[in-house]
Symmetry: C2
Subunit: 205 residues, 2 copies
């Protein structure tokens, strides 16, 4: 069983944490690159045994996505809080922007800025993509339920994927903007606007 982040009342207390392993891993990735860093090295530096890594992360590449993993949950909450009478795409956009408000200039996910430095790897891209798919699926079910269409409906799927993709584009552009980047929200707004615009028109027809 993968350890949860909240320590329960009973049982042996944690010696370790996702964050400790994350820190150790990021250090090593910067020093040696992603591919050359083994899980054994990570756990050694964190002062635990190799197997403990897999108590906290299902795979090596998952170490990048600690910060992002709650975004899915937050997005789900925000999406279900959208008032029923709001236009679908506009409501969805608002939900995205609300979640993005949590990301100030300092809260850039590590992987976005350090990807080049660690010799970003196919494996890493792949793990990013699976996050993408997970987010897209949250959006997809929301759209399907609001539009009263099956979640396999082509336009629903297209809209969900396009929204998610635009979000990633915004995050990349934002991270790439350097120290002057400011908040994520304006980037996201500009990226989502055309997509929402286009699909809102498609859905009212």
């Amino acid at each position: 069983m993968v350890a949860q982040s909240t320590t329960p009342a009973r049982g042996r207390p944690r010696l370790s944490s996702r964050e400790m392993l994350e820190d150790a891993a990021f250090e090593l990735f910067l020093e040696q690159g992603y591919a050359k860093t083994t899980i054994e090295q990570i756990t050694q530096r964190a002062g635990v045994s190799r197997n403990t890594f897999f108590n906290y992360f299902p795979a090596k590449s998952d170490v990048f996505w600690v910060a992002l993993d709650e975004v899915g949950a937050r997005l789900r909450r925000e999406l279900s809080a959208v008032p029923d009478d709001a236009p679908v795409m506009a409501g969805t956009r608002t939900a995205f922007l609300t979640v993005a408000d949590g990301f100030g200039p300092g809260a850039v996910p590590w992987i976005l800025t350090q990807y080049e430095a660690i010799g970003g790897n196919n494996e890493v891209q792949v793990s990013a993509v699976s996050r993408f798919v997970a987010l897209a699926s949250v959006v997809r079910f929301h759209l399907a339920s609001r539009l009263d269409l099956p979640s396999t409906h082509p336009e629903v799927l297209a809209a969900a994927y396009a929204l998610t993709a635009a979000t990633i584009a915004a995050a990349q552009a934002w991270a790439a903007a350097g120290v002057t980047r400011g908040a994520l929200t304006p980037y996201l707004d500009r990226a989502l606007a055309p997509v929402c615009d286009g699909f809102e028109r498609a859905f009212v027809l």
Copy 2:
């Protein structure tokens, strides 16, 4: 060195081929599922040694994408053939649709239809999307050059990603439609239209 598909004049002739390994692999995937099939089993059935597999494919999951490998090149060609005076997004859309015309009802990439049957796991789904990610970069540079904007421009990035994502959505919906699916083109058209519409408006402003 990964073997090329054209047999050169000199040297030992091939005993094997990408297609032979592909066939053997697909059979086994259907029989046992993707995860339970080892490369050793694939090469045994194809009558070659394990190492030969890696002469033809860099990784197990690459066996799915033989058919898709030239799509990037074709898209690049079609994009550069777009007349200069066409509106950017409309021209891009046409190029996508032209490439898609190559995919009739029978030419469904195997993986798209058999995904469920082989116990489609995350690795496979993800390897699908990462193929398309390469396409996003082709689109991105085309848009940037036509719009005379840097390829890092937020809207350019967003448009490229959104187009690619809509394409994936179309391909999935098409494959999921079963034997009555018909051609890919109409699915793609419906998925791309809203995205192109939205960004065309954004870019003229």
